[in-house]
């Protein structure tokens, strides 16, 4: 049974649930289904004064909408009345969200204000003929995007899901429960907007939506922001917060890069690279040595200051290998820097193609070698009986390129990540 009433300056009627609860009906002409706030009964009002029960929601799913049914509010200059609330779960039951149905008698369809994890979006029907779907999938997988042939703006696929209604209150102008059982929803996003397609019974309806800041919801429905659910994480439609740090970040990065270049120039000027040893010799057989090849002991050389050192060795290899055990000896202190390098170089012609592998040159970097007098020993070892020509070059105060690469990478890391993120989001929003 129902009664016509006037309330708060607009007309509504009262529909009675079988549990005795009174349900306000604001869209008298169209609403024919109702969900009871109290007992969770979804029923039809056939207009003959009787409520035809359809389904009762489980009480453990019961939820009280934050925006009460009947609340009036203004969004985008349009006045709405909250006429229903639906609690939805995806088919797997993992995700749960709420949707408020907003009614304006001058509009043909509801607007939907959806809330998930404290993030809000407003969705309504819109002519989206300018958008065309196209497949951007790869490796045999289909992945659709929507692209506007007017603006070129692209919406990327976000979710495809089915859902069921776990709880509902208010009034409906369609049999929401039945549709929910068969409906397939696809969401395409380009923050702060979303395009939603709902397919059921062979027909597809398209909707347009946008992100709504919680404070806008608060203002629109005169609800304290404290009552709204706390935002969890970042909403898929949420644009990055403009915190004004990108400008100073870019300027600081440029400043640091210039400083690094200047510092490196200054260091190179103060401690120029110096070729302290360059020698080559041919190996000979030595029966007195632990190695069948005679070792090389270089002349003494002096380092006038401490610094990095690069030792480059190479050997004339031809499908051969040689192991070089080396020692840099400080003649003042007896301190020894030992190192071993194996050089190998093989090449050939096979299957109509030339090939080669290995290297006949290697280098070693020594860190912070103190000043003093040094000599350099090389102990070659090879199973080959041929004579090898071995060259040794030692550069003191060598430029440590790995240090430069590291500091530049450290300086660029955060700005580059920020720029890529911002750019990606910008493309989504305005592309």
């Amino acid at each position: 049974m129902s009664n016509q009433l006037h309330g708060q300056g607009f007309r509504y009627k009262i529909v009675n649930c079988e549990c005795g609860e009174h349900i306000h009906c604001y869209d008298q002409q169209n609403s024919i289904y109702f969900a009871c706030t109290n007992c969770g009964l979804f029923f039809a009002d056939d207009g003959d004064g009787t409520a035809r029960p359809i389904r009762k929601f489980a009480q453990y799913e019961k939820v009280t909408p934050i925006i009460p049914i009947g609340t009036q509010g203004t969004i985008d200059g349009k006045e709405f009345t909250v006429v229903a609330y639906i609690k939805k779960r995806d088919a797997d039951g993992d995700a749960c969200w709420g949707e408020y149905l907003l009614h304006n008698p001058d509009l043909p369809n509801y607007h939907t204000l959806a809330e998930s994890d404290g993030h809000w979006m407003l969705v309504w029907d819109k002519d989206l003929a300018e958008y065309t779907a196209y497949d951007v999938g790869s490796f045999g997988q289909t992945r659709y995007q929507l692209k506007s042939h007017r603006s070129g703006r692209t919406f990327t696929h976000h979710l495809t899901y089915r859902f069921h209604i776990a709880w509902a209150v208010g009034e409906f102008d369609w049999y929401a429960l039945e549709e929910a059982s068969y409906m397939r929803v696809i969401e395409y996003v380009a923050p702060p907007n979303i395009i939603v397609s709902e397919s059921v019974y062979g027909t597809t309806e398209w909707y347009w939506g946008r992100y709504v800041e919680p404070e806008d919801v608060s203002k629109a429905f005169s609800i304290s922001q404290k009552e709204l659910p706390t935002r969890v994480g970042k909403g898929v439609l949420e644009l990055p917060v403009k915190d004004g740090t990108m400008g100073p970040l870019v300027r600081f990065t440029i400043l640091m890069l210039v400083l690094v270049i200047l510092t490196q120039m200054l260091i190179s000027f103060a401690k120029p690279a110096e070729n302290v040893l360059s020698i080559s010799y041919e190996t000979t057989r030595d029966s007195t040595s632990w190695s069948p090849m005679s070792p090389l002991v270089t002349r003494q050389f002096e380092l006038k200051n401490s610094g990095g050192m690069e030792i480059v060795v190479d050997a004339d290899l031809d499908n051969d290998w040689i192991e070089l055990s080396m020692a840099l000896v400080n003649d003042n202190t007896g301190k020894i820097y030992e190192m071993t390098k194996t050089l190998e170089y093989y090449h050939g012609y096979e299957g109509g193609e030339s090939w080669s592998e290995g290297n006949y040159s290697e280098s070693v970097i020594l860190s912070n070698v103190p000043k003093g007098k040094y000599h350099f020993n090389v102990y070659p070892y090879s199973e080959s009986k041929r004579i090898h020509r071995i060259s040794v070059g030692i550069v003191h105060n060598t430029v440590l390129y790995s240090n430069i690469a590291l500091i530049i990478a450290a300086i660029l890391l955060v700005p580059v990540i920020r720029a890529i993120r911002n750019n990606a989001r910008k493309n989504h929003a305005f592309g």
Binding site: F252, S306, D331, K335, E338, I407
Partner: protein, 57 residues
């Protein structure tokens, strides 16, 4: 335009990068490879020193 405007908003980041820069500058002055010597290198004062001295003329 003040080049240093709003640098206070990224102060913690500036401190981190400044520390890294100082490490880089120290490494540059002393000739230290930040990631360490090539891993084949080791310092020793073992008996091989005698052999090295033996070969050194």
């Amino acid at each position: 335009m003040n080049y240093f405007k709003d640098f206070d908003k990224i102060l913690r980041y500036i401190i981190v990068i400044a520390v890294l820069y100082l490490v880089y500058a120290w490494a540059g002055i002393t000739g230290t490879k930040i990631t360490g010597d090539d891993n084949e290198v080791k310092e020793t004062r073992d008996a091989r020193q005698n052999r090295n001295n033996f070969y050194h003329k």
